[in-house]
């Protein structure tokens, strides 16, 4: 059965359906289904945390914490409902929780230093070869997560709205603002590189 599911999971068209099946089996206590889910979704979730500017160690910690929370609240998934928004809603909760804790610990000065660091790194990375984290770095957190889910993980507007506990309209608005900001930022980077007016 699991082999059949894994075979189907290769097709992105069926990915969500298969994850739903795996989730239902996980709820019934099937360890193999749980393992398959962990292997299949972890890279995606890790990238989600990475896009939010988490370090590799942090992303690993957040991933581990997310899976433990998923395990604890696995009964809150209702069969037949889209599964990705459920996973991302929990991952997002863990990230926000982590962010709050870090913010409490960090002084305001340290935060400002970090922000300057991001701004400095971005143009250099763009010049050398594109990576997602740098590309999305200038965006505020709420816009970054929306773009990551929509454009990187290929979720629909409705799924992103469910994962972020917001409306489809609000997701559209955030995506629009993110594109405007990215357009401005990329134009500034390009003009700096070509020696044009900054």
């Amino acid at each position: 059965m699991i082999r059949a599911i894994l075979g189907c999971a290769a097709s992105p068209m069926n990915q969500d359906i298969d994850l739903e099946l795996l989730m239902a089996q996980y709820q019934r206590g099937d360890f193999t289904a749980a393992t398959v889910l962990i292997r299949q979704l972890s890279p995606q979730l890790s990238r989600f945390f990475g896009v939010q500017l988490a370090s590799r160690e942090e992303a690993d910690d957040l991933l581990q914490e997310t899976w433990l929370r998923i395990h604890k609240v696995r009964h809150t998934y209702r069969p037949g409902e889209p599964v990705l928004p459920w996973f991302y809603a929990i991952a997002r909760h863990i990230r926000v929780d982590h962010y709050r804790k870090v913010r409490r610990r960090m002084s305001r000065e340290e935060q400002l230093e970090d922000m300057t660091e991001i701004e400095r790194v971005l143009p250099l990375k763009l010049g050398e070869g594109l990576d997602l984290e740098s590309l999305l770095a200038p965006l505020p957190e709420s816009q970054r997560e929306v773009i990551a889910m929509l454009k990187v993980d290929g979720m629909s507007l409705e799924e992103v709205a469910r994962a972020t506990s917001s409306s489809v309209g609000s997701v559209k608005q955030k995506a629009h603002r993110a594109y405007t900001k990215l357009r401005e930022h990329l134009a500034a980077v390009t003009s700096r590189r070509t020696g044009g007016p900054s």
């Binding site: 360890f31 890790s46 998934y77 459920w86 994962a163 506990s165």
Partner: protein, 235 residues
């Protein structure tokens, strides 16, 4: 730069393989899951949970009014009864659905908790303003405080019982869940007041009765915020 070009940049960047997850992390996760893996019963559908919440609100409101006396509803005319109680019923139903949805990760939200509180308060304000035209302010403060306390004394058990009903859920936004629980409790409190309170002075109802869901929602949000903060500091 056009949207299409940004799309291409994002597509190009996301095509790069995601950074490898540490296999040890995955093994650790699998191991800890294996030790505690048991079959679980999924949560019932949202409408079942909403019905439960409505039953709690109606039960506590009716019991409270029965204990205090149905003086308010007896004094109302047909128009007042037919506008106030159906409106309260609809608001309780909408808030119960919003609260049940809050406790299920990744579920579709039709109305945000904050919006629900504003809509409830404005709807009640409009109905009360249209129906009650006695603008005297006799014993405004003393009677008002009695009503506010009575409303809150019914709002708190409603919110607590609702939270208990949804305890198997998982609040991804605890503060907004607290706000929803408080709003639901507050609406039950207002229902008690409409059934019981015979003071039909417009300002009394507009200020003190509507204050019940507002204070109750604020209390709910503050309590969950404080508990999240406290548990965060303890960890």
């Amino acid at each position: 730069m056009k949207d299409r070009q940004i799309d291409e940049l994002l597509k190009h960047a996301s095509e790069a393989p995601p950074r490898a997850v540490n296999p040890e992390t995955l093994d650790r996760v699998s191991q800890s899951i294996e030790n505690t893996l048991r079959p679980v019963r999924p949560l019932p559908p949202t409408w079942v949970l909403s019905l439960g919440l409505i039953a709690i609100s109606a039960g506590i409101a009716s019991a409270g009014a029965a204990r205090l006396g149905f003086n308010g509803i007896h004094k109302m005319n047909v128009l007042e009864r037919s506008l106030i109680f159906p409106a309260l019923g609809i608001l309780v139903w909408l808030t119960a659905t919003a609260f049940a949805t809050e406790m299920i990760p990744g579920s579709r939200r039709r109305v945000a908790s904050g919006t629900m509180l504003i809509v409830s308060s404005l709807a009640l304000f409009a109905i009360f303003a249209v129906l009650f035209r006695d603008y005297r302010t006799d014993h405004f403060l003393s009677q008002g405080i009695v009503c506010l306390v009575t409303g809150l004394l019914h709002a708190i058990p409603t919110a607590l019982a609702s939270w208990l009903l949804l305890r198997r859920g998982f609040a991804v936004n605890p503060v907004t869940s607290g706000l929803s629980a408080g709003t639901l409790g507050g609406l039950a409190g207002v229902t008690v007041l409409e059934l019981h309170c015979p003071n039909f002075q417009a300002l009394h109802i507009l200020v003190w009765h509507i204050a019940v869901p507002l204070v109750s929602a604020a209390l709910g949000a503050w309590l969950t915020w404080a508990s999240v903060r406290w548990s965060g500091q303890r960890r």
